[in-house]
Amino acid sequence: MHYVVFVKQVPDTSVVKLDPVTNTLDRSSAPSIINPYDSHAVEEAVRLKNKYGGKVTVISMGPPMAVDVIKKCIELGADDGVLISDRAFAGSDTLATSYALTQALRKVSEKEPVDVIFAGKQAIDGDTAQVGPGVARRLSMPVLAQVIHVESFSAEKKVIRVHRKIEDGVEIVESKLPVLITVEKEINDLTYAPLPNMIKAAKYKPLIWSVNDIEVDRDQLGLKGSPTVVGKIFAPPKQSGGQKVTGTADEVVKTVMDKLVNVHGLFTGGGVS
């Protein structure tokens, strides 16, 4: 089995500040991290590998410093990683990015055909959730998006059955391989990586492919290949301040429970609104 995971380096939006004047992200204020959804995608691929055998390869696109996210994936248990990095990719929107990643994946699968592709549900910087499905479309592969559980997997029959999170419940779907799966965070808890993985990651030098290393039509890359126009960026409206409950632990619990039960109708079927 060969599992490929797409990962992205993103600014940590839990730390990042929005410039109040220009409404753009002040990226300098935030550390770069692996997109949190993607780390769960890697974890799930590694779990399948540990159970059914095979190999996990991660692919990322980004500036040279994005090798750090590939090293992070090695910590999590991935076997190999490739970074595609070139000025020609700069400015790519989701269409161009899915094209570049597809071409990189094609090269990776020349050596060893790919059975399952994993990706995070979306990246926390763009929130588009388009790149994973975009790759699947280009490969004419089924997509199972927002997966929260892998129920069964058969390497012989090449079938996977998963639970998908949908609007008002859970959908249980089965698909033939190869398939592309995008994951929610609740699909697993990240394992605290064993020390040998940490040492391997610290020593690891990922492959870096430039635009010349993969077969591409340059017109479909970068700004040229990106039809997306950013119309306007604005800060979300400030949340109105909640009520701060103070006192001892007992008092706080009592106040909150009173409010939930008496004001919001908890336990009476009214639900918390």
């Binding site: 730390v15 550390p31 605290y192 001892t248 632990a249 007992d250």
Partner: protein, 98 residues
């Protein structure tokens, strides 16, 4: 004599600092009974720079999530009643500046 110290809300200070909390506490009161019966002063509730320790009448509350991992409580507890270790790798306080 000198003026009393200026009051400040420690929550407003703590808000400036980044913490990535573990689910489990890295700070443990060895024997809650000692805090209750043997420790009049409860120094830790005063000197802890993050006000991690709060006496709630009956029991010592330990808000480990806001701990700066300085070690003062371990050293300053007159009854050696605090089991102190570092949070799991990568967790706990994350200083971004000085």
């Amino acid at each position: 004599m000198s003026q009393p110290l200026k009051k400040v809300n420690v929550d407003d200070l703590q808000y400036l600092t980044r913490f990535v909390s573990d689910k489990e506490s890295h700070l443990h009161i060895k024997d809650h009974n000692i805090c209750k019966t043997k420790c009049e002063e409860k120094h830790c509730t005063v000197f802890c720079p993050a006000q991690v320790y709060k006496w709630e009448g009956e029991r010592m509350f330990v808000g480990f999530e806001g701990c700066h991992e300085c070690g003062s409580c371990r050293i300053g507890c007159p009854h050696d009643n605090i089991e102190w270790k570092y949070p799991k790798g990568g967790l706990g306080v994350v200083f971004r500046l000085a």
